[in-house]
Amino acid sequence: MATLTPERISELEEIARRLRVDSLRLIHRRGAGHPGGALSAAEIMAVLYFHVLNIDPARPDWQERDRFVLSKGHASAVLYAALTRRGFFPLAELDRWGEVDCPHQGHPDRLKTPGVDMTSGLLGHGVAVGAGLALAGRLNKLNNHTYTLLGDGECQGGIVWEGVMTAAKYHLSNLTAIVDHNKVQLDGSVREIMPLEPLADKWSAFGWHVEEADGHSVRAVAEALELAQQVLDRPTVIIAHTTKGRGVSFMENQSAWHGNVPNAEQLKQALSELGEVQHG
């Protein structure tokens, strides 16, 4: 991990801003996607892909690379934005996202998109698959680390906790989970649909080291991920407090923007709020 200089922090903040812009453009063009959870995860994805993950776009199958599983596969737009900005494939390929002959799928497909370590879409798989990847890393005596990003609503599903128990049983300190805790899900607020609190205590009771961080502070996210690497006897979860739809006033905290598509007018306003200079 590179040193977290003020320049580096501004760089990562700018990358996060660009990931938001890219995500909204992609979703708008395809006429489908999930803006709310893509926008809430922008800083997390920026820090992972441009500061933390030891990966090489020239060798997407490099065995010793760090692994990332987007458990909340709905946020595919922000993953594709990060992968293309990181150099795994040209941004132009995403112009046709959604066409039947475009390789990149609605949800991440490891066989079709370079840099996608695991197929996802239906919720709940990231921690358990990540535990398997972390076990494999240990058996292969690799020094790599596995990361997974899940949603808070996702934590309502039992298989998440099955994976959490497994990772704790095997003391998988080479596994880190990040919960994008934006407090809003499809039908409303998490608190209203199925309360999760005390979420940090739950993970802690299940044997994980817990860090809480402001998920929109690249410094806080980066520091939490760095701390996670220093925990040697158990896996770490970072509860990243975020805002669904972050950065676009009319999307923030609105469950309606979980899976809605901005029209041309809305996109224009959103990009303007995100500081994007628009031509024409």
Binding site: Q63, V129, A131, L139, I159, E162
Partner: protein, 314 residues
């Protein structure tokens, strides 16, 4: 039952082959003393993972291990794997094409003491419907053991259906197992019995009795339900003109359905399906009696044969 159990033969073969291929890992869900993956656990403890009573999680952990370059054999009860963990198998194994091998134990009615919750009579339908899944049903203990190295070295998801019990032995060392290639175990011209799993031995017995009645039955073992040996089936249909299928599974979606689909499209001939007739089955005192009661008896095979020959004659 005098015959060796399929689960023991499988468990010992897995432990042994784990010594040959160091990339093999095994997982279980608190059933290793039942599935007999515990032979592997004892021999290769560093490569054995007991995930607790959480089949969906086991599938996902195995997918992760496969992504990391290992060849995971997951072990559990067929009914739970094929129902509760079906989404994980669909998404993280078949769709993601991870090299996971499913040792689906206690299949069919073989857990006769535990009743309908534990019977696995729709697993083949579920597995056969998944794109990318290879479905293998050994006929006896020796065959199950012989499949282990083949399955381990095959690149891709495999569902290997393992009985808790033994069955009438049919496999011998002279037979060559190849995925997708059925075996003609007995030649005959009047009709073909097409069987899988424990029903292969029962059909062999039926064929002997039919011979005494002057009926010359061919016997084809379809160990691989998917990909199906279409060529062998069409040849049998063409040469004998009538088919009886037999499986320890509901007649919906398993071998009988697979054969019916194939013949209906390419070579329609009279067909009768022996299997469980769309019902839940009761608890039994022993497997043989239970199978007889549930429509899988030798007498049922003979009755189906007579029906199909009647139709062939008209």
């Amino acid at each position: 039952m005098a015959e060796p159990s399929m689960r023991e033969a499988y468990g010992r073969a897995l432990a042994e082959y784990g010594g040959v291929n160091p990339k093999i890992v095994a997982l279980d869900v608190d059933t290793s003393a039942s599935t007999l993956s515990n032979f592997f656990a004892q021999k290769h403890p560093e490569r054995f993972f007991n995930i607790g009573i959480a089949e969906p999680c086991m599938v996902d952990v195995a997918a992760g291990l496969a992504l990391g370059g290992f060849v995971p054999f997951i072990n559990g009860f067929a009914t739970i794997l094929s129902l509760r963990a079906l989404e994980q198998i669909r998404t993280c194994v078949c769709y993601a094409r991870t090299n996971v091998k499913i040792g689906a134990s206690y299949a069919g009615l073989s857990d006769f003491k535990d009743g309908a919750t534990h019977y696995s009579i729709s697993d083949l339908a579920n597995m056969r419907a998944l794109p990318g899944m290879t479905v293998i049903v050994p006929a006896d203990a020796a065959e199950a053991a012989a499949w282990v190295p083949i399955v381990a070295e095959f690149d891709g998801p495999v569902y290997l259906r393992i009985s808790r019990a033994g069955s009438l032995p049919v496999f011998n060392a002279g037979m060559t197992l190849e995925i997708g290639k059925g075996l003609t175990l007995r030649n005959g011209k009047d009709l073909t019995l097409v069987a899988t799993g424990a029903m292969v031995g029962r059909c062999a017995r039926a064929a002997e009795q039919l011979a005494m009645m002057g009926i010359d039955a061919r016997l084809v073992e379809i160990h691989t339900l998917k990909p199906l040996d279409r060529e062998l089936l069409l040849q049998a249909a063409g040469q004998t003109g009538a088919i009886v299928t037999a499986e320890e599974h509901t007649i919906i979606g398993g071998l009988g359905s697979a054969v019916a689909e194939t013949l209906a499209e390419a070579q329609p001939v009279p067909l009768e399906r022996v299997g469980i007739q769309d019902r839940f089955c009761p608890t039994g005192r022993d497997l043989d009696t239970l199978m007889d009661v549930c429509g899988l008896s030798v007498a049922e095979i003979i009755a189906a044969t007579k029906r199909v020959l009647e139709r062939k004659a008209h």
